[in-house]
Amino acid sequence: MNVLIIEDEKALAKELEIFLTNYNYVCEVCYDGTSASERVAVNLYDFILIDLGLPDYEGLDLLKEAKASNPDAAYIILTARAEIYDRIKGLDMGADDYLAKPFSLLELQSRMQAITRRKFGLKNNIVELGEFQVNLTDRIITHNDIEISAVTKKEFDLIAYLILHKNRTVTRNQLSEHIWGSIINDDYDSNYIDAHIKNIRKKLNAFGPPDWLETVRGLGYKVKINA
């Protein structure tokens, strides 16, 4: 999939490019609005990541312009100015999602995945994990066709996030940013992820061993899928 990254902070643009290339996206980078405006006029993209705070261009104007030439692309707004009005305006103008800086790269990828699933209408998105089946569309976990209803919404979010980044170690920080990102509180080192994982293991163990949910010592957690 083709991604256009419009970001005036070169160091950040570079990291986005490295990360997305790793996830098999084909990336192009623009550091200013003028070149981005030229680029969208000639090329077609699947994803356009756009920083609203460009020095030479009104971000929302650029979004409008890009939408005219690339109507099928998915748009994700990246901004350091996390004003709610911008958010409403951005989403009104047809952006598909919105990420406030600083954001986790994993979060960006999960948003892009979600958009892809939505756009291509993937149904029965079922992942086989040992004796378990995880249905990412209906958000249920089953064991031999028996639904494990004890798993809460939060716990499912954690499992789904780990599945999305399968075979990679996801740190506790990345996990808590995903599930508690919008909560503002003054704890900066919480280990409540461990408590959640403990609960998940306990609930699943009643049905079968969740070997696929691995603890990476001192680092975080990983869902292992042999494909």
């Binding site: 902070e9 950040l12 990291e15 986790s104 509180n185 003054d186 900066y188």
Partner: protein, 442 residues
């Protein structure tokens, strides 16, 4: 006491003192005036008699050595003229009794002796003192009435004038000082006055408010700009660390250290985000258009926070006695307010401790109480717990930076929610949120 009341009181008291003084002095004064008047009448009479004697001769009054005496029928005035035997010259006025026919009457008598036709004569003219005093009474009452009327008039005039002249001061107090939400004073409107002092006061207050306001504004802008500016470098660092972490050729030991860096960066990020949130709240950048039942809001907070009860095995209970509907609120902010209060109740609680939430409508107040059985707060510290970055001595070595309660306070102020804190050491704390009627829906 108000300035106007003080002035009125002084005004009335001073007038009263004047009235009393005057009433005390009046009889003496009037008497004196009367005596003076009587005396001058006596002298006029004397001069007339002397003039007659000079023009016509003593014979007009006295013939063949007889003395002359005359009375009016009621004996209020009497004149006598007689040969005088005393040697010295007489010309005085004094009060004396005279026997006239059967009555003894007090007279004010002018005695004067003079020579005529080589003989010495004594002239006496008297006016009865009763007559003099008869005039005193009506004079006194007239003077008293005039005085009362004048005093009432001056009190009224004083009152009206002080009202008029103090009106600008009242306006300054009413429009500039009372009922203004600090530091949002709104626009300046000059108070009309011709009194320089009030004008000066008005301008000075305005200038002080302006200075305070702009200082606040600058501080808010600074926090807002600083935290915004910090977001981009934090974002770059975070991305770099995440990318490095994913690289396959990196040893686990390095990964561990990258994780440490991520944690520290996370701390920086939390502080910055929190400061930004507070400044956004203070800059009124949030809408208040949501509504939610208090039970639903508490349920949402529970869903997010329940995992945190596990570690300390905390017994959490909620009692919604009155499930009121909150309107004109920002749900995101109120959620964070409750989350932070309950989170604190967990952090400062003991193992197997209790947290009890109560929502009720009592005595016309809509209240949510968060009651914990934690370590409590020193009463002397309670006024400071909402200060930014304030870490109280007792606060444990927790992974927090002292912005939890400042967020709570900012959100509460934004919604005009009052917070009452009660606490007892080692017994626990109660945070009481009192919602204004404007946030309660039907």
């Amino acid at each position: 006491m108000k300035l106007r009341t003080k002035l009125t009181l002084f005004n009335a008291i001073s007038k009263l003192v004047i009235v009393i003084l005057f009433v005390l002095l009046l009889p003496v004064l009037i008497k004196n005036i009367n005596i003076n008047y009587t005396d001058s009448r006596l002298r006029k009479q004397r001069d007339e008699v002397l003039q007659t004697v000079k023009n016509v001769g003593i014979k007009y009054y006295i013939e063949d050595g007889k003395s002359y005496a005359g009375y009016t029928p009621i004996k209020d005035v009497y004149v006598s003229l007689d040969e005088d035997t005393t040697a010295e010259n007489l010309d005085n006025i004094k009060n004396e009794a005279r026997k006239v026919e059967a009555d003894t009457i007090q007279y004010r008598i002018l005695s004067h002796n003079f020579k005529a036709d080589k003989k010495k004569y004594l002239l006496e003219i008297g006016i009865s003192l009763d007559t003099v005093n008869e005039r005193t009474a009506p004079l006194q009452s007239i003077a008293f009435m005039v005085l009362v009327v004048m005093i009432i008039l001056t009190i009224l005039a004083d009152q009206l004038y002080s009202d008029y002249i103090l009106r600008p001061l009242g306006l300054i107090i009413k429009t500039k000082l009372i009922g203004q939400k600090f530091p949002n004073f709104g626009s300046y409107k000059q108070v009309e006055t011709t009194t320089d002092d009030f004008h000066h006061l008005d301008i000075s207050i305005h200038e002080m408010i302006h200075t305070i306001e702009s200082t606040f504004q600058k501080e808010r802008e600074f926090i807002s700009n600083a935290s915004h500016e910090l977001m981009t470098p934090i974002s770059i660092l975070q991305s770099k660390i995440e990318n490095m972490f994913e690289q396959e050729d990196i040893a686990d030991e390095i990964k561990g250290r990258l994780l440490e860096m991520q944690k520290i960066l996370n701390r920086l990020k939390s502080i910055t985000k929190t400061l930004l949130l507070i400044s956004q709240i203070e800059n009124d950048q949030f809408l208040k258009e949501d509504q939610i039942r208090v039970s639903s809001l508490l349920q949402e907070v529970y869903d997010e926070i329940s995992i945190r009860f596990q570690d300390k095995n905390i017994n959490y209970s909620v009692e919604v006695r009155d499930d009121f509907l909150l309107v004109n609120i920002n749900k995101f902010l109120l959620f964070n307010l409750l989350f932070n209060l309950i989170n604190n109740a967990i952090k400062y609680n003991h193992e197997n401790g209790d947290i009890h939430i109560e929502a009720s409508h009592e005595n016309g107040e809509y209240v949510v109480e968060i009651i914990d059985s934690g370590i409590g707060i020193n009463p002397a510290d309670i006024p400071f717990i909402f200060n930014r970055f304030k870490k109280l001595k007792q606060s444990l070595q927790q992974d927090s930076f002292g912005l939890g309660l400042p967020i709570v306070k900012s959100i509460a102020d934004f919604h005009r929610i009052r917070i009452d804190v009660a606490s007892e050491k080692e017994k626990g704390s109660t945070f009481k949120l009192i919602f204004p009627a404007s946030l309660i829906g039907r």
